[in-house]
């Protein structure tokens, strides 16, 4: 007969998915807000979504391909780096945005209740739209190189693309809410995230192909859950990539693990974080 019961602490795994579903309108409105707010009063507006990956790809091509002469498995370097950039961009954006959930939204969270997971979820969806725009850019260059007859072979793995996206979203969300729950207590973690993501990129085959890594270190590389995502993506579109079953499994299991731990911690923190922030 009681609709709500407010108690000191929830059980560990009490994730109220139905409640999150009830706030679906709010989720989408937050997405809209982020879009509008981000590029209002900028001259180029949403064009920035395209300029960011374009510039980094050009710079990567010059530095890593022309200067450092890192081979790219016979794939045109420009396309190789753009694929890496677009994929990494989505993951790191999700991670960065969700990792500050509590600190950024302390003002709203302190005044009104709604399912707190709505915030990081809306972040991930906002970034998804940005990814789609950037993927469009990649697709355009992809078409151009295909017409020129570059040695790239798209294959059936392209169909795994939605799953890859979902995995990246969940991974970014998982790591993000994990960190955001910890930052309510330990502020120094936010500094760690800022350059940690940079370093993480170099531990992921973004600026080099996994095939360049000696076989004995592959296992180590596969412990990084993003490794297999990037390699599968490249393999699907470019026909070059080092895809292994253990890499994929490792990545999937890690994603789930991080997501579960992140959700548990997030649920725990959301009830009382207002007293500590």
């Amino acid at each position: 007969m009681w609709t709500t019961e407010i108690k000191p602490r929830r059980s560990l795994f009490d994730l109220n998915l139905r409640e999150i579903w009830q706030y679906r309108d709010l989720t989408l409105l937050f997405v809209k807000r982020d879009f509008i707010a981000q590029y209002k009063q900028t001259i180029l507006g949403p064009l920035w979504f395209l300029l960011q990956p374009l510039f980094s790809t050009v710079i990567f091509t010059i530095i890593f391909s022309r200067v450092a002469r890192i081979p790219t498995d016979n794939v045109p370097p420009f396309l190789f780096y753009m694929a890496g950039n677009v994929v990494w961009g989505y993951f790191s954006n999700c991670f960065n945005a969700t990792s500050t959930t509590f600190v950024t939204n302390a003002a709203i969270f302190g005044k009104v209740y709604f399912a707190r997971l709505v915030m990081p979820l809306s972040n991930v969806i906002t970034r998804l739209f940005m990814f789609i725009i950037q993927f469009g850019l990649f697709a355009a260059f992809y078409g151009y190189f295909l017409m020129k007859g570059a040695p790239i072979r798209p294959n059936i793995w392209i169909l795994s693309m939605p799953l890859l996206l979902l995995q990246m979203a969940l991974m970014g969300l998982g790591f993000g809410i994990l960190i955001s729950s910890l930052t309510t207590k330990y502020r120094d973690l936010s500094f760690l995230v800022a350059f940690g993501v940079q370093l993480w990129m170099y531990a992921t085959p973004i600026v080099y192909p996994l095939s360049q890594i000696p076989a004995k270190y592959r296992l180590l590389m596969n412990l990084n859950p993003m490794t297999s995502v990037v390699e599968v993506f490249r393999f699907a579109f470019l026909g070059q990539g080092t895809v292994s079953a253990e890499g994929i499994w490792c990545s999937l299991i890690e994603t789930l693990l991080v997501l579960v731990i992140g959700t548990v911690l997030f649920n725990r923190v959301e009830k009382t974080f207002m007293d500590t922030v």
Binding site: W2, I36, K111, V112, F114, K185
Partner: protein, 425 residues
């Protein structure tokens, strides 16, 4: 009873003073490592030896209970006013009811959807237009998009912002902003509405409109919980009242008698001496030690007469050299809220003990009990503030010994110079 919509059972809420942990992972790891090695924790607070008291820190010392064992049953359609001094636990109670924070012990059971208004305009984004903000804010407060669409015209009309609905709210005047924010909230349709002092916004006309709207909401049989320092609006709106003091319910029942006793007809007797203002935790910049209301011959005065010359003596200590230092003084009444504020011109001040004496030729309040609020600030940032630091009792007798009316004359009695001349001379 079956029509109880909120059941609060033995609710306790504990807060801790200061940081919950060291806030730095590095230091926590350091402390942990020291414990593992059996060494002294490098981050433990250093206790001065031989200062008296136990060398161990009393774990109960840095915690305090904001709510202590609150139980209540609130029935369907009840309009409950929650009153009490600052720090009595009113806001904490509302925060728990609106699920912003969780209780430490006890539980609250709620029947129906609860809408809370702890602030107007939560989540308003300055770059979004009025229209976009209505949808966003409505959704934050728990409305579905379809509901907002259905009420959209009503909300805009209530806020009186029809012409600017597609303008970003950062271009709104503060009045328009607040009106729009309240309008969204007022059109929430929860069975239970929790409101925290939001009526203290907007102009008088709009405040009336808000009070009217809240009255209408309660007429519809919905339950309203309302926190306010303004006894007039509590009286107008509420049928029942809960008086909190130091985290406990001291009275709960019919509104009028509780408001009466709170306003101070039965209040603590004034001692007429100096009031101790020493804070529990001394700010690093300085603090007030004591304050005293006196007559012009510097004798403590327990009661002032209407129009009497008076002075307020405040002793304070400055613990480090400050620039742009200001002493602020305010007078408030529990009935009307803040009435009057004054402050000194900014100056630099050296370390030391000081006394400041404020003097006024005629106290211009009518009979009743008022309170003095005292603050110290540095570059507009208050580092010491004490609300209701000491009471001023004014007897309804003027300095010329005639009885002054107290009912219906307002709280300011101020004489104007005037002359009466015949026009037909």
């Amino acid at each position: 009873m079956s029509d109880t919509v909120i059941k609060i059972e033995n609710l306790w809420k504990e807060y801790r003073y200061g940081a919950v942990s060291h806030r730095y992972l590095f230091k926590d790891v350091q402390s942990w490592w020291a414990r593992v090695c059996g060494r002294e924790d490098p981050n433990a607070k250093i206790e001065a030896p031989g200062m008296g008291g136990s060398p161990m820190r009393d774990p109960g010392n840095d915690r305090f209970w904001a709510l202590r064992d609150i139980s209540a049953e609130i029935r369907q359609g009840e309009v409950l006013g929650i009153i009490g001094r600052n720090g009595a636990g009113k806001s904490t109670l509302l925060k728990i009811l609106s699920r912003v924070t969780a209780p430490t012990r006890g539980s609250v059971k709620i029947k129906g959807r609860i809408g809370s208004l702890l602030e107007v305009g939560t989540g308003f984004h300055p770059e979004l237009t009025g229209r976009e903000n209505i949808f966003l804010n409505g959704a934050i407060l728990g409305m579905r998009k379809a509901e907002i669409t259905a009420k959209f015209d009503q909300i805009v009309a209530f806020a009186e912002v029809e012409r600017f609905i597609d303008t970003p709210v950062k271009r709104y005047s503060s009045g328009m902003y607040v009106r729009l924010a309240f309008a969204v909230a007022a059109h929430l349709d929860p069975e239970i509405l929790v409101v925290d002092e939001v009526l203290a916004v907007g102009d008088v006309e709009f405040q009336k409109k808000c009070l009217g709207k809240m009255g209408a909401i309660s007429q519809e049989g919905r339950t309203v919980l309302f926190v306010s320092h303004n006894m007039e609006s509590i009286r107008k709106l509420c049928k029942s009242c809960m008086h909190l003091q130091a985290g406990k319910v001291i009275e709960y029942g019919d509104c009028e008698p509780i408001v009466q006793s709170y306003v101070g007809n039965r209040g603590e007797a004034s001692t007429g001496g100096a009031f101790d203002l020493l804070p529990a935790e001394k700010p690093p910049e300085g603090y007030c030690c004591e304050a005293c209301i006196e007559d012009t011959s510097s004798r403590p005065a327990s009661v002032l007469l209407v129009g009497q010359e008076w002075q307020l003596r405040v002793r304070f200590r400055i613990s480090k050299p400050l620039d742009h230092f200001i002493v602020g003084l305010g007078v408030s009444s529990r009935m009307q809220g803040s009435l009057w504020t004054t402050w000194t011109t900014p100056r630099s001040i050296a370390i030391g003990d000081y006394t400041i004496v404020f003097q006024q030729d005629q106290i211009f309040f009518s009979g009743g009990r008022y309170y003095v609020n005292i603050g110290l600030s540095c570059f507009e940032r208050p580092f010491f503030y004490r609300e209701e630091a000491l009471p001023i009792d004014i007897s309804p007798v003027s300095i010329k010994n005639d009885i002054v009316r107290t009912q219906g004359i307002g709280c300011i009695v101020n004489h104007l110079r005037y002359r009466i001349e015949r026009n037909d001379s």
